[in-house]
Amino acid sequence: MQQATRLSDDATLVRVADLHKQFRRGAETLDVLNGLTLDIPRGEFLALMGPSGSGKTTLLNLLGGIDRPTSGSIHIGGQRIDTLSDSALARWRSRHVGFVFQLYHLLPVLNAEKNVELPLLLTGLGRKERMTRVHAALELVGLSDRAKHKPAELSGGQEQRVGIARAIVTDPDLLLCDEPTGDLDRKSGDQILDLLQAMNREQGKTVIMVTHDPHAAARASRIQHMNKGVLADASEA
């Protein structure tokens, strides 16, 4: 598939430096990330593991630009994203990131095809072009025959595959997956993991996956543990 814009060809795609994130809960302040530093090379399939509250989902959100750090910096493809304006960040996100959620988060009012089309509505592409890409993405995840079905008419595994199709339809460099198999049975989960691996190995996408499941993590090229908002060894997790 054709690229919209290419990030720099630097071997390191993601550079995170001294990242802090605080949340205010009523009168309390929670320190979720405490000075995290991390480099992720292009083409890696990284699994983030750790107990709940370790900050892995928060890190994912920050990398995807749907949240902002309290301090520290995030560079993706040479572009510093934590200082971008809201509109610029939204624009950047639409082009360079694909999200895959645990609960799929498909729009129930739209069918599979239209759900996958959503990110393309933000580009300047004409209808025919858009549909070409949509069908290519659905083909890739093996759901071409379900294009006209609404999420309610799909199984969990099928919904997630639509989710993946939506995530890749704009051909982003980065795929961020938050517990993508968390709600699926073993068989469907395996199918999803197969797909993610294919995206990584065959399409060259960098995949960062948050997971509880060691079985899923085993599919990654590297596993990184987290605890209390910083990187940790497997033993400490």
Binding site: I66, A90, R166
Partner: protein, 385 residues
């Protein structure tokens, strides 16, 4: 345009709610449009009153009569081009409740009111028949009369010399409106016949209508005419036709204000209904809006989409209501069967209605859209999990 599919899909989220809200909006705008036609019926006289026409009545009241001899003296005033007189006959057809506007007058009546049109043929027929009448199309249609019918009209004022209160006429022809909004309910007959056959009040008429050459001199000419007859037994009051109509309308009451008050209440409650629907719809969609943000839809874009959705709702419902009422007014006509002098939807009211639709759409969507913009994506996801 490409987002239209998404907008419509979102509206159809809960079909019943959509239908119910659309119907609410439809009903409200139907009411507005139909009522505006009723309001226009009461005030339309104002808009078509000729700027170059004056009306001269007895100073005390329209009820009192003036000498027919005044016509010549008024015509001699500089600036007056034509003078016509008319009188209220107080006629009804069969039942006293079928009051009609019946006027004995002269042929010049049709000159001074160019907005009513009559064919030469009918005019000739009327000239030839002393007891003939010309009937406006509205009344013709209301009673189903035909040209050539004998028409007995009973008067509550002008007893005939022959001792009866019922005068015998023949329908010589008809006239119709040459412009929108013109009253075609009136019946016209010959002053000469009237003057000769009436039991009393000879050589007296109800009022004068005059055309002047220069509308700017209306005030001046009015004063001049009234000065002619000041301190005489029959003093006059002359005013431009529009002012005369206005004075008349103000006697009935402030119809415009009542109309606005009713429309105001309706619109206010409608805003609540539509606003509530939008607010509910958006509240249900919090996770989806979060997803859109995650996908890269910016805040301004999301706000625009929600406002567009709300506008779509308003336009569909309001447009249907407006259209339906407009059709009913135009095709169905006067609901009182001929009593109203005119009955149509004024273009000004139509434009105002469209503006109200747009305003409704924007206002109903404003708060929900703003809330959606403020939505914190992360919090929204967290809520679901």
């Amino acid at each position: 345009m490409k987002f239209l599919g998404l907008l419509w899909a979102n509206l159809r989220r809960r079909k019943t709610r959509l239908i119910v809200t659309l119907l609410s909006i439809l009903v409200a705008f139907f009411l507005y449009t139909y009522l505006s036609a009723v309001k226009t019926a009461f005030t339309s006289g104002l808009d078509i009153a000729g700027a170059d026409r004056l009306v001269t009545i007895h100073k005390v009241s329209l009820i009192q009569l003036l000498p027919v001899s005044y016509a010549q003296r008024i015509a001699n005033v500089e600036g007056v081009e034509q003078v016509v007189h008319a009188t209220w006959f107080g006629g009804y057809y069969q039942d006293p409740r079928n009051q009609l506007g019946v006027f004995p007058t002269t042929e010049a009546y049709f000159d001074i009111y160019p907005e009513i049109g009559i064919s030469d043929e009918h005019m000739q027929a009327w000239r030839r028949d002393r007891t003939g009448v010309l009937v406006g199309m509205a009344s013709m249609n209301r009673f189903g009369w035909k040209v050539g019918d004998k028409l007995p009209i009973t008067t509550s004022i002008w007893g005939n010399k022959n001792g009866s209160d019922t005068w015998e006429f023949t329908i010589a022809g008809t006239y119709d409106a040459a412009k929108e909004g013109v009253d075609t309910t009136a019946i016209i007959f010959h002053y000469d016949y009237f003057n000769e056959a009436r039991a009393f009040g000879q050589d007296m008429v109800g009022w004068y209508i005059l055309r002047i050459d220069n509308p700017d001199r209306a005030e001046e000419i009015s004063k001049e005419i009234d000065a002619l007859f000041a301190n005489s037994p029959y003093e006059t009051k002359t005013s431009p036709e529009k002012a005369f109509m206005q004075g008349f309308m103000s006697q009935i009451g402030n119809i415009g204000a009542i109309f606005i008050a009713v429309v105001g209440v309706v619109f206010f409650t409608l805003l609540l209904v539509a606003g509530n629907t939008m607010a509910q719809s958006v509240r249900e969609r919090t996770p989806e809006i979060a997803v859109l943000k995650a996908l890269g839809f910016s805040n301004p874009r999301i706000v625009t989409m929600l406002l567009a959705e709300s506008l779509l709702l308003a336009v569909l419902g309001g447009g249907a209501g407006l259209g339906l009422a407009w059709w009913m007014v135009t095709a169905g006509g006067d609901p009182t069967g001929g009593y109203l002098p005119a009955f149509f939807v004024a273009s000004g009211d139509l434009v105002a209605g469209i503006a109200m639709i747009l305003f409704l759409g924007l206002a109903a969507g404003l708060l929900p859209a703003w809330q959606a913009a403020r939505l914190n994506t992360v919090e929204a996801f967290r809520k679901v999990v």
